[in-house]
């Protein structure tokens, strides 16, 4: 099991062929209180970089991009009623969606935790 990060502040946790995607602690801090999350429905297909979900906070509305290509196997429906989970546990219970990877090779272009930490520190 390993975790990857993007420059758009998404995280990807990979277990076998299934990748779980959410936004990072840094992203939730920047967004402020999250008030609405729209997650994709099961079966939707995304290419790497496609707009896959929407997150709205009191400050801004942002798109969440699919960090890798794949087919959605589950959206986190709990977020519809409890968008605050994205603030309280962004890298755990506040996950957005799970997808089945089309090309595991795409993960190689993402950052690992150390690289992402450095990326955020330099912002």
């Amino acid at each position: 099991m390993s975790r990857y990060f993007t420059e758009e502040h998404e995280w990807v946790e990979v277990e076998g062929k299934i990748a779980t995607v959410g936004i990072t602690e840094y992203a939730q801090q920047q967004l402020g209180d999250v008030v609405f999350v729209d997650v994709p429905a099961e079966g939707k297909q995304f290419d790497k970089g496609d707009e896959a979900a929407v997150v709205e906070s009191v400050k801004a509305a942002s798109d969440v991009y699919s960090p890798v290509s794949g087919t959605i196997v589950e959206g986190n429906d709990v977020l519809a009623d409890e968008p605050g989970l994205v603030n309280s546990d962004p890298e755990g219970d506040g996950w957005f969606f799970k997808l089945e990877l089309t090309d595991a090779g795409e993960l190689d272009s993402l950052m690992d935790e150390a690289a992402y930490k450095k990326f955020v520190a330099d912002l």
């Binding site: 209180d33 008030v35 609405f36 709205e56 009191v58 605050g84």
Partner: protein, 526 residues
């Protein structure tokens, strides 16, 4: 002599100063009245109007008739008038005090404008009336358009856009039409960081890709970065001048020349024209299109007080593409309206129509009244006093609030501060809320984005030095409390009709519809 020993006490009781605060039984605080929702006052079974019985007639709605009561509250006329008058007393307005919202130009609306706009010849006409019966109204549109062209040094004007962002749309559509007319497919609009937030939205709406151009540390456009990005794919640049940092873009002519050389057009967001009207003509700076917010620079009411109006002026290159309709004066002095039927002879390249009719007539009358009553010298003084007032605010507060561009020289019409230097845990929002307790509408907060915790103050030229001093005194007091970490500021406002609202809860669980309280329903059912 006989003495009347009856009478009312004429001075406070001796222990009055020591009386503790108490809650009134009504929730009212003297003339600060609590007001229930209209649904809580009214009653669906009551009506304030005596209507005659409806005549018996067969329904022609084919089963679509409403089956249940509509549920609107019934109130007497007096109850209705009181309800809205009470609510209006909880509001803040330019007629109550200084309105420092930066970027909004909340200046006084002269009453003469209102008088003119209410003349029946302007107020009681219909847009589809025969043209020969509305020659006076058309003359107002024509004359105002002429003044806008003169004041900006441009070649043409479109009067119909309804407000600032609509004017931006008009300008960018004209740019796209001009490019299409020469078969030029350009896809990118450049927008500097110091531009209004609506600029990138407008460009994206028209179908352009938006690319940011960074600002220099002094708050102005990075000209070298902009020049480096120019090329055959750039349709144009949208630049706000004076910009949202309250600074004049000194290099606009250099930028325009470079953009034109690369085959693009320059759109200028004229929302802040108030600071330069009579001083600078955007046409001389190479601008191709610019909207003018009549509701800002020319004092027509806005912010709930009236509709906006955003005429757009055009350079020679873009004027042929301006939208319908146009007012045109024929050789015999008669005014005509150029619309779809007549455009072929006059404006064959027009990109079409943006609105059903001719624009905001009431705002045209007010703006023309403002221009004519001020005269050329008066308009020049508007700009000078607006800039003077903003600099007075900037220099009077920069020792208590961080002014990120204070060292860049004088500001234009608005003074910009950041939250740098406030006590730990204290924010721009605390200052804004504290200002409400002091009896002022807060300034614009958290905009522009280039400054952290921005506070943007635009006093406008219509405030006197005494009014500015009052505002500055209040700002200094609140800013010092925020710097010293006064915890009472966290719970401000203390004296407003409502205390600080939970915006997160309101967004997460919005209550948009009034529902009858359950307990009362149960009682009523018994």
């Amino acid at each position: 002599m006989s003495m009347n020993n009856q009478g009312r006490p004429t001075r406070p009781a001796e222990d009055s100063a020591a009386s503790p605060a108490f809650a009134t039984s009504t929730g009212n605080r003297a003339l600060m009245l609590e007001e229930a929702l209209i649904f809580e006052i009214g009653d669906a079974n009551r009506t304030g109007v005596d209507l005659p019985e409806a005549p018996k007639a067969a329904s022609r709605l084919g089963g679509l008739e409403r089956k249940s009561a509509i549920g609107l509250p019934g109130l007497s006329e007096q109850e209705t008038v009181r309800h809205y008058t009470r609510l209006s007393r909880q509001n803040y307005a330019i007629d109550l005090g200084l309105f420092p919202l930066g970027s909004c130009t909340m200046k006084h609306n002269p009453r003469l404008n209102e008088k003119m706009a209410r003349l029946p010849g302007f107020a009681d006409i219909h847009p589809l009336q025969p043209i020969h019966t509305v020659q006076g109204a058309l003359a107002v549109i024509d004359e105002l358009g002429d003044w806008l062209i003169k004041l900006t040094g441009m070649a043409g004007v479109a009067m119909s856009p309804k407000a600032g962002a609509h004017g931006e749309l008009c300008g960018i559509l004209a740019i796209r039409s001009a490019l299409e007319a020469r078969g030029d497919k350009r896809s990118v609009i450049l927008v500097p960081e110091s531009a209004h937030g609506t600029n990138p939205a407008t460009a994206a709406f028209v179908g352009y890709q938006v690319e940011d151009i960074p600002a220099k540390p002094d708050g102005r456009v990075d000209v070298d970065a902009l020049k480096a990005r120019l090329g055959p794919d750039v349709a144009g640049v949208m630049i706000t001048n004076p910009n949202t940092c309250g600074l004049f873009e000194r290099d606009l002519k250099i930028i325009s020349d470079a953009v034109h050389e690369a085959g693009g057009f320059v759109y200028c967001d004229g929302a802040n024209f108030n600071a330069v009207v009579g001083k600078v003509r955007p046409g001389d700076l190479g601008v191709d299109a610019m909207h003018i917010n009549l509701h800002k620079t020319f004092s027509t009411p806005h912010g709930g007080g009236g509709p906006g109006s955003g005429p757009v002026v055009f350079s020679d290159a873009l004027a042929p593409f301006a939208p319908l309709p146009f007012v045109e004066r024929s050789e015999d002095g008669k005014l005509a309206l150029i619309e779809e039927e007549s455009m072929e002879d006059h404006h064959a390249s027009s990109f079409g129509r943006m609105v059903a009719f001719h624009g905001q007539m009431g705002m045209f009358t007010r703006a023309l009244t403002y221009i004519l009553s001020h005269g050329a010298d008066g308009l020049l003084q508007v700009a000078e006093d607006a800039v003077l007032n903003a600099n007075y605010v900037l220099r009077s507060l920069e020792d208590v609030l961080d002014a990120p561009f204070g060292a860049a020289g004088p500001c234009m019409h608005e003074a910009l501060f950041s939250d740098n230097g406030l006590a730990d845990g204290f924010s721009t929002l605390d200052i804004a809320k504290g200002l409400i307790d002091e009896g002022f509408h807060p300034m614009t907060v958290y905009f522009p984005l280039v400054v952290h915790g921005a506070m943007l103050v635009e006093p406008t030229e219509t405030e006197s030095k005494a009014a500015l001093n009052q505002f500055i005194g209040a700002m200094r007091s609140v800013a010092l409390r925020a710097k010293q970490g006064d915890p009472s500021l966290h719970s401000a406002p203390h004296f407003a009709p409502r205390r600080r609202l939970d915006e997160t809860l309101a967004a997460r669980k919005p209550v948009l519809v009034w529902t009858e309280p359950v307990a009362e329903q149960a009682e009523a059912a018994e």
